[in-house]
């Protein structure tokens, strides 16, 4: 571990334990370095997530959690390091990337061609996901008129469209009420059972009990060994 910033790849540890029957890694980030101006946010961070595994990334504000996720998604370029992903990656950003004046169906229709789906296929698949997440599918309000929770559900559904193998979620339950939050974790369990590799950035320590591994990122100045908290 570098003196400025620590990270850990818990999956590396798992490999070191020599478990030959482990599912294949679907997401591998190696030696990720990222600076914004003179401020180094990520310093030699590695992360491997396997099929059917849920990993939480925790750390204080500014530790680079969202940056790591953005690098893994490919929307942020790392200064050094490499990310490999098997299959499609679904990315749910912290701030819902939505068009304010388009409604949910129009968003689904817009994403459909990108995923190789016809409009009807996209609407069918997207509405099914939205329904599953508890989004009022008959609500044709423009996205800026939706509640924070509904916007987040649409954000999540767009990430799930196209059946991704790797799902990257940046604090995905902002605005969710308690029932939706509980339901969200039930969905995560199901996606895990289907073999998806899931990375969730979170601030909530209660989430640690719901995931397989917790990877803690530290701010470079305060770097110490990154802690991997107990697997479930």
């Amino acid at each position: 571990m570098g003196p400025a910033m620590s990270s850990v790849s818990a999956a590396h540890a798992a490999v070191a334990r020599g478990r030959l029957d482990e599912p294949a890694p679907l997401l591998t980030a190696e030696g990720i370095v990222k600076s914004f101006g003179r401020r180094r946010v990520l310093d030699d961070v590695s992360l491997t997530v396997r099929a059917g595994e849920v990993v939480a990334i925790v750390g204080e504000n500014g530790a680079g959690k969202s940056t790591l996720l953005r690098v893994c998604a490919g929307v942020e370029r790392a200064d050094a390091g490499q990310v490999r992903a098997e299959g499609r990656v679904g990315y749910c950003p912290q701030a819902p990337g939505l068009f304010d004046l388009l409604n949910a169906d129009e968003h689904l229709a817009l994403f459909a061609p990108a995923l190789g789906l016809s409009r009807d296929q996209g609407l069918r698949a997207g509405r099914a996901l939205l329904d599953e997440l508890g989004f009022p599918v008959r609500d044709h309000s423009r996205s800026r008129a939706l509640s924070g929770g509904s916007r987040q559900k649409l954000n999540l559904a767009l990430a799930l469209m196209g059946e991704p193998c790797v799902l990257l979620l940046d604090e995905p339950y902002q605005g969710f009420d308690h029932g939706t939050y509980v339901s969200f974790w039930e969905h995560v369990s199901r996606w895990r059972a289907e073999g998806m590799a899931i990375v969730i950035v979170t601030h909530l320590l209660t989430d640690a009990a719901l995931v397989d591994r917790v990877v803690e990122l530290a701010i470079p100045r305060e770097a110490g060994p990154v802690a991997e908290r107990g697997p479930r």
Partner: protein
């Protein structure tokens, strides 16, 4: 479920659907659209009847509305574009879709202005007047998309728009500085329509060249921002769930 990927219909959908959604967003900004259209009309109306520069001023001011709409369109789409590109769109498909829709919008505005100005001024060169207005529209969209792709925020974009169009408005088309600006060709055509100059010269070619260069700049900025920091294996793995 992925039968359309790679088919002709699928390829067209990747351009036409972003165009359609851009159109839906645009028509829902009714107040902004009204103001953007009223602004150049106000420029024209203020000078019409007592200045021979009314057509040139109104025509070039039309760039405020079309380029303004393009800047806002590009800036609004920026946070979503990365997700769309991550989902599978290529940057040029999104750009082409928006270009298509905005050019259509620009041509509608140019048509409207052509009728208003032809009726208002009784220009002897109505064809040149219409061509000048179309050229403003054609150049404004790449200009707005390029500015929207290059600037960090709306304020900077609007200031650049006001600066470039404002300077072009104040200059005579024979001045060297005017020739360096993106709407010189349109200005020249509108000057010709007003009878201020005797020939058009390379006006159309210069403006179209400018438009292509601006489009290339916008495309370059879009490509630089596109997700590409990740190596993706196309092989879909067979997963077995948790061990």
């Amino acid at each position: 479920m992925t039968a359309r990927r790679g088919t002709a219909a699928g390829r067209w959908a990747r351009i036409l659907v972003p165009a359609e959604m851009t159109g839906r967003e645009l028509v829902r900004r009714r107040l902004a659209l009204g103001l953007l259209t009223a602004l150049p009309l106000a420029f024209y109306g203020a000078l019409s009847g007592h200045s021979d520069r009314a057509e040139v001023t109104g025509g070039i001011a039309m760039a405020f509305s079309i380029a303004g709409a393009s800047i806002f369109c590009a800036l609004t789409a920026r946070p979503v574009d990365q997700r769309l590109e991550l989902a599978g769109y290529r940057p040029h498909e999104l750009l082409l879709g928006r270009l298509l829709l905005l050019e259509l919008f620009g041509l509608v505005v140019a048509g409207l202005f052509s009728v208003v100005m032809a009726l208002g001024s009784g220009s002897a060169h109505a064809g040149a007047l219409a061509a000048g207005l179309v050229l403003v529209a054609v150049t404004s969209v790449p200009f707005g998309l390029a500015v929207g792709a290059l600037v960090p925020n709306e304020l900077e974009g609007v200031l650049i728009l006001i600066g470039v169009v404002g300077v072009q408005l104040t200059l005579d088309s024979t001045q060297i500085v005017a020739k360096l600006l993106p709407f010189w060709g349109s200005q020249r055509l509108l000057d010709y329509a007003s009878g201020d100059v005797g020939s058009i010269g390379p006006a159309v070619v210069v403006d179209l060249g400018y438009a292509l260069a601006l489009l290339a700049a916008g495309a370059y900025a879009g490509r630089r921002r596109a997700p590409r920091g990740r190596m993706v294996s196309r092989r879909r793995p067979v997963t077995t769930g948790r061990d």
